[in-house]
């Protein structure tokens, strides 16, 4: 790989837009550089389940020809992007990392996929994930285990591990993921990049394969906050095909980023610095708070008393919704059908038994158990009540604070296989990210340091509903004072 192309792949989306505007490189050259990098690095990193080389190059050439004719171009013109493989792409397989959907080719595009096409982005391919987005390490994929670009023996986090690793490995400048309990923010933290989960209802879920519908939200990965804003500008906004997608006005999220910030208040929840938090992670996060303090932030200690119940609440709400969402995989309409069956019910049971992996089965069983007669009051309804208490905690906190800051994950990336035999310890790696989905609020993870083993650490900022503009402004204010976001993983 030449130095010129490797330099191109280390650029941000905003820089790639500039480079094209100045005529230093066109979309085809840029796309080729990323495709070359994927060829060189992905056999090791394993971010992608599918690379659509031909389609990417065709799109890139079309954009170049539009540019040469002086036609109007979209806001992401010629910027390559990777898409998590639970987001539908018309005519291109969408597997959800599951054998169940091994041969599934969506007949339509997700809303966000359409938006990317209209923005003239270049879709490079589909990225690996924990099966049906259920997991925190990407080890639950039926196809491959994605590696952390900072240490190939470690997990990238999950479930959007492929999309996070692709950006961290410079195989794509930006990518899309989905976040149900931390599936964007936790891998962003573990891979040393920026990951945003927007407010529930900010981005249409049309064409996102459903896991837990009241928690799922599509969001972004990028090297820095400016690219997050650029990509959010493209995907946010009303879509009638998702009735939970609101018509709340979409501002230009890039507009304020470089402006000086007015004094603001950061809430620091004591529950987020309790037992189980790695000392090196805590140190970096505390240093980040000091940086924000130097930029005019008032630090206020707060309490989110019900946050300790978030993981328990989540695993009832999410699995209850999953058990009903995944009932659609019946071996009839699409997806795997068992070849060997005695009757209709047997066909359902065998198709699902063969098509789903261990974690998906576990969550369907837990969900149906908590919804079953005799247990629904003690489990599912109880969880919905605690969910309200968790949201009330946030409402109270945001009455006094602009954002809540803390660690994104309790530890840095762990080793492959370390937690895969103990589901509960895996669930606890989402302890700081999960309550955000239950409350429906936005959250961002930004790089804030490295541990002694050179593994990245993330700072999480949570905001009130639809406060993405403020959240990004504060994140950018921190980022400008630091250089963590400029580091790129070197893959041996």
């Amino acid at each position: 790989m030449s130095t010129v192309t490797s330099k191109l792949t280390e650029k941000t989306a905003a820089e790639l837009i500039q480079i094209q505007a100045k005529g230093e490189a066109n979309a085809e050259t840029i796309t080729k550089a990323f495709l070359e990098t994927i060829k060189a690095k992905d056999p090791k990193v394993k971010s992608f389940l599918l690379v659509n080389e031909e389609a990417a190059l065709t799109t890139a050439r079309l954009i170049d020809s539009k540019r040469s004719k002086g036609e109007k171009l979209g806001p992401l013109a010629g910027v390559p992007i990777a898409v998590k493989d639970n987001i539908c792409t018309k005519g291109t397989p969408t597997t959800c990392g599951s054998k169940m959907l091994e041969h599934f080719i969506p007949p339509y595009d997700a809303h966000v996929t359409e938006k990317l096409h209209h923005a003239d982005a270049v879709i490079l391919g589909k990225t690996n994930l924990d099966e049906f987005a259920m997991g925190s390490s990407t080890e639950n994929s039926a196809y491959q285990t994605t590696r952390n670009p900072w240490n190939l023996d470690c997990i990238p986090g999950g479930s959007s591990g492929g999309s996070a690793a692709a950006v961290a490995a410079c195989e794509a400048p930006i990518s899309l993921g989905s976040d149900t309990g931390g599936s964007i923010r936790q891998p962003a933290s573990l891979c040393g990049i920026v990951g945003l989960k927007p407010t529930y209802g900010r981005v249409s879920r049309y064409g996102l394969v459903a896991y837990a519908s009241s928690l799922d939200q599509i969001g972004t990965f990028s090297h820095d906050v400016t690219d997050t804003a650029l990509l959010l500008n493209v995907i946010a906004g009303k879509d009638n095909r998702d009735s939970t997608c609101t018509s709340t006005e979409v501002p230009d999220y890039t507009a304020n980023l470089e402006l000086p910030i007015k004094p603001f208040t950061i809430g620091v929840a004591r529950e987020y610095f309790a037992g189980g938090l790695d000392a090196e992670v805590e140190k970096s996060v505390r240093e980040a708070l000091n940086v924000l303090k130097s930029k005019g932030a008032t630090i206020k200690e707060i309490s989110l008393p019900h946050s300790t119940y978030a993981v328990a609440t989540y695993y009832l709400v999410a699995t209850a919704e999953a058990s009903s969402n995944l009932a659609r995989y019946d071996g009839v309409h699409y997806g795997h059908r068992s070849k060997d069956h005695k009757n209709l019910i047997d066909m359902y049971c065998k198709s699902r038994g063969e098509g789903f992996g261990a974690e998906v089965k576990r969550r369907i069983l837990l969900g149906n158990y908590s919804l079953s007669s005799g247990y629904i009051d003690a489990y599912y309804l109880k969880a919905l009540k605690v969910r309200r208490l968790i949201r009330d905690d946030f409402d109270k906190a945001f009455a006094d604070c602009d954002v809540i800051a803390g660690p994104t994950a309790p530890t840095c990336a762990f080793r492959i296989g370390e937690k895969s035999s103990d589901p509960l310890s895996m669930y606890l790696s989402d302890i700081y990210t999960i309550s955000c989905n239950l409350a429906g609020i936005p959250g961002i993870s930004i790089p804030c340091g490295f541990n002694s083993k050179n593994l990245p650490i993330g700072l999480q900022l949570l905001g009130a509903p639809f406060s993405e503009e403020k959240l990004l402004h504060i994140a950018r204010t921190y980022e400008k004072e630091t250089s963590w976001h400029l580091k790129r993983a070197q893959i041996p």
Binding site: I105, R337, N343, V386
Partner: protein
């Protein structure tokens, strides 16, 4: 709280999920430990708390009742494991 292999078998049947014998044993140990953890919710006082199913205050979003283009038959059936003419093929329902 322990969940027995028989209970798992029943839930698996309700879930239309065939489990192999080793999956059944693993599920009963793992779900018991997860349920034990989840039981901490019982310590929370939720008297007079309304359940929250959804974070947004939206309900009954309606659209105008107008015809719109949708998938044609070929597109809708393209992923069917067993297509029979313009229908989905299924094993016999009445025996």
């Amino acid at each position: 709280m322990a969940i027995t292999a028989d209970q798992i078998k029943w839930i698996a049947h309700l879930s239309r999920l065939e489990l192999k014998p080793d999956e059944l044993i693993a599920a009963s140990t793992q779900l018991s430990s997860i349920l034990n953890y989840i039981n901490q919710l019982q310590e929370v006082n939720t008297d007079h708390v309304e359940p929250l199913a959804h974070a947004l205050d939206v309900c009954n979003v309606f659209r105008d009742d107008v015809l719109k283009e949708s998938l044609n038959v070929n597109e809708a059936l393209a992923n069917a494991p067993d297509r029979q003419g313009n229908f989905y093929g299924v094993p016999a329902i009445l025996e």
